[in-house]
């Protein structure tokens, strides 16, 4: 069963993602900010990471860069949450090493579809 890490400082978003992906059969863990995300990613073995960009302590962009520096996470798909209008953010995130994105507000079914697609299920 593939495992997914969701990184977001908003408990309600994490919960939404968790519910949507768990019911699809994924095992979902949570991190509350970028630093927590790096720590959990190092400690676990995740097949996919979904992250918000706007977080305290360490934001999403920095986290993605940190993760990509490490061989262990070099090939892990990372999806980020973005608002439709922010093309600049998207470019930065991609440059930082993100795999794909999801626009907010997102429909949980959309999330599942994209995760399935990226993980090839």
């Amino acid at each position: 069963m593939p495992s997914i890490l969701t990184v977001d400082d908003s408990a309600s978003i994490r919960q939404t993602i968790k519910i949507a992906l768990s019911s699809e059969g994924y095992s979902v863990s949570e991190a509350v900010d970028g630093a927590d995300g790096v720590a959990k990613a190092d400690a676990g073995a995740y097949d996919l990471i979904v992250t918000d960009l706007n977080m305290p302590i360490m934001d999403g962009l920095t986290m993605i860069r940190e993760l990509r520096k490490k061989p262990a996470h070099a090939g892990t798909p990372i999806l980020f949450l973005t608002t439709e209008s922010d093309a600049d953010m998207k470019a930065q995130a991609k440059a930082a090493g993100a795999t794909g994105w999801l626009t907010k507000p997102f429909d949980p079914d959309q999330l599942v579809k994209i995760v399935n697609k990226v993980l090839a299920r």
Binding site: D9, S10, A11, S12, I13, Q15, T16, I19, D33, G34, N54, M55, P56, I57, M58, D59, L61, T62, R65, R68, A74, G75, T76, P77, I78, T83, E84, S85, Q92, K94, A95, A96, G97, A98, T99, G100, W101, T103, K104, P105, F106, D107, Q110, K117, V118, L119, A120
Partner: protein
């Protein structure tokens, strides 16, 4: 059980975000140039808007969006954070709160607030840009009837694998659209020496027959479309089952691979090291779980005391040493639990800044709120219950205590009235005071009201302190007219009851010319305390150790000498003492050598005479039913190691009893 419903979780989050925004705005009104504050407020507004839209709070998201846009412009330097701008958003807080709580809202109110915001933004330097609508939902691809065969040829950027993109799932996805024939293009693979294994050197040619539209094929590459070469051509002849023709060399309209080097990102610098706004490395735990944990610790402590008893009676040294270790661990666990639940009162005090701001506006008075001792900590549940009483006291001060600027000037005081909110720890209690430098308590008015309500016989003599206590009686109100602010039926008597419900006490003082002050004393811990177990006759009682000053022996000579008197000399000081045997009407002869436990609270001391001191006891406080808490002498009870019950003495009650010359045996109210 904590809610697992994201909408419920969002409701809580929304309140926290609104709180953060409000505090940030208040801070910003003092420091308009602070970029960090602007960024913090923007982030919170941004999150509120985004999550609001996610969970169906469309009105909230729509409204917040405008505030967010305004702050985005400030953040980018297009517009300045003028006091008016800050005020405009601050004024919108209540409306946003109402939207977040799902309360019915007047759209006109919202519109008016937004118009004000628009004007203020324009004045601050930016022409208002029309707010873009929320994210559009992805359009549904139109169903293309019939089958089409496409040739899809693509190569990906070299570094896609590093970014976690996997080509194989893409091919699977294409297969999912319809039958495919796939051929890998290996021309670009360099010789072994030059090969970087993490790079993608492959391209693919796929001939796909599908009834899906072209957009479905493009969707497969949605994340990488900007950095790849992709050619989709319709194959017109019926080559659906034909062998894939030798493909012409891929026409590489190769776009430059995105440079992986990150450009300097201001957001990262701000987010990382510099003061991390309000978030500490903390974990959010539902308060109920803390309560449950507290109960477990309480039960552990009880079980441990039983173990202690058994071990104490045993000759087994191993058992005794383990029992001692467990006692030590239980004590530490208890301390940790206590500190987990402790929160600085700053959390409480910060709510009042907004209150003062509103009170000043509503009363037309100038009010300064000064807070002291904000780092003083209190149990989380206690803090929650203190909020309403404190609000009432503050409102009282603002409404009745403080004078208008004109009156103050006439009285020779500065026009700005002061309300001082202070917290400090005093032994086992936390003392919170609300003090104002207003006109003080009008004794005549209090007297008149007390007589009017039958609380006092006209003309009866009464001490000043007792007169002030009348204010806390139910049904008492000295407000000449009940104002909107403090006359909501939350009387001083409710404040008193709430504080007493926390096993605390409150005291009102108002020396002439010094305004008035209400002091709340709250015991630090509600659940488990260190106690001193004593025996009076055959019954056992617990005295809170924090109140115990010392223990002495009552010699038979002193005993004889002091019959009829109730004071003894202790190191040149007169200390009143009380024989608990008399007070509790204990039967049987007293022990030969009785003990005196000297306790103190709030400066008053009294010696309690007991038969025997049994030792320390980690006391899990169990509440007494209303029938017994009325007695006053006992603040709770606890279960002992042998299953028996020991009542916990209320030291405050004891010391005030001692203030009378000879305490009579406790009589039940008849």
């Amino acid at each position: 059980m904590s809610s697992t419903d994201p909408v419920e979780i969002f409701r809580v989050e929304a309140q926290e975000l609104l709180e953060q925004i409000e505090q940030g705005l208040l801070d910003l009104s003092h420091n308009p140039g602070d970029k960090e504050l602007v960024a913090a407020v923007f982030r919170a507004l941004h999150t509120l808007k985004g999550s609001g839209a996610m969970f169906g709070f469309d009105a909230l998201a729509g409204f917040t969006h405008h505030c967010e846009t305004a702050f985005d412009r400030v953040r980018k330097g297009e517009v300045k954070a003028t006091p008016d701008l800050v005020s405009a958003v601050l004024n919108a807080m209540d409306h946003m709160r109402a939207l977040a709580e799902g309360r019915p809202c007047d759209a006109a109110v919202g519109d008016a607030l937004l118009v004000e915001l628009e004007h203020v933004v324009a004045a601050a330097g930016g022409a208002q840009t029309p707010a873009p609508a929320a994210a559009a939902t992805p359009a549904q691809p139109a169903r293309d009837p019939g089958l089409t065969t496409w040739r899809v040829v693509f190569t990906l950027a070299q570094d896609v694998l590093i970014n976690g993109t996997r080509p194989l799932p893409m091919l699977d996805e294409l297969r999912g659209l319809g039958p495919c024939q796939i051929r890998a293009l290996i021309d670009a693979i360099p010789p072994l020496e030059a090969l970087t294994p993490t790079n993608c050197h492959l391209g693919w040619e796929v001939v796909l027959t599908t009834d899906q539209p072209r957009s479905a094929i493009e969707d497969v590459f949605m994340f990488v479309i900007d950095d790849m070469t992709l050619e989709i051509t319709e194959v017109k002849d019926s080559a659906a089952d034909a062998v894939v023709e030798a493909a012409p060399p891929v026409a590489s309209a190769a776009q430059p691979v995105a440079d992986a080097e990150p450009h300097p990102d201001p957001a990262a610098a701000a987010g990382g090291d510099a003061k991390a706004a309000r978030a500490d490395a903390s974990v959010r735990v539902p308060a109920q779980r803390l309560d449950e944990l507290m109960d477990r610790v309480g039960e552990l402590v009880i079980a441990q005391s039983r173990l202690k008893q058994i071990a104490g009676a045993s000759q087994d040294m191993n058992l005794r040493s383990v029992a001692e270790e467990i006692e030590h661990l239980a004590s530490e666990l208890r301390d940790s639990m206590m500190s987990v639940r402790m929160v600085p009162v700053a959390q409480l005090f910060s709510r009042f800044r907004r209150l003062i701001h509103d009170l000043a506006r509503d009363t037309g008075k100038e009010i300064d709120l000064i807070t002291e001792g904000e780092t003083t900590e209190l149990d989380k549940t206690v803090i929650e219950r203190l909020a309403d009483p404190l609000i009432h006291l503050i409102r009282n001060s603002a409404d009745h205590g403080l004078e208008t600027p004109e009156e103050r000037l006439a009285a020779g005081k500065p026009t700005k009235g002061r309300i001082i909110l202070a917290a400090r720890q005093a032994g086992a209690e936390v003392v919170i005071t609300v003090k104002d430098d207003g006109r003080g308590v009008n004794r005549d008015r209090v007297r008149a009201k007390a007589e009017e309500n039958g609380l006092l016989a006209p003309g009866a003599a009464i001490g000043d302190a007792e007169l002030l206590q009348m204010i806390f009686q139910p049904g008492f109100s000295t407000a000449a007219k009940v104002t909107n602010l403090s006359g909501r039926g939350v009387g001083m008597d409710v404040v008193k009851r709430t504080i007493e419900g926390l096993r605390g006490s409150l005291e009102l003082s108002s020396p002439a010319g010094e305004g008035s002050q209400v002091a709340l004393r709250i015991p630090l811990t509600l659940a488990i305390i260190d106690g001193l177990l004593v025996r009076v006759g055959t019954a056992r009682y617990v005295i809170p150790l924090s109140a115990v000053e010392e223990c002495l022996e009552l010699t038979p000579e002193q005993d004889a000498r002091s019959t009829g008197r109730s004071v003894l000399t202790l190191r040149d000081q007169l200390v009143p003492f009380m024989r608990l045997r008399s007070m509790f009407d204990t039967k049987g002869p007293p022990d030969a050598y009785q003990k005196i436990v000297v306790v103190s609270t709030g400066g008053d001391r009294v010696g309690l005479v007991v038969d025997q001191i049994l030792g320390d006891h980690q006391t899990v406080i169990k509440p007494l039913s209303v029938f017994h808490s009325e007695v006053g002498a006992f603040s709770g009870a606890t279960i002992l190691g042998d299953g028996g019950v020991a009542l916990i003495l209320d030291v405050g009650h004891m010391t005030s009893e001692a203030a009378q010359t000879s305490p009579a045996p406790l009589r039940a109210a008849s």
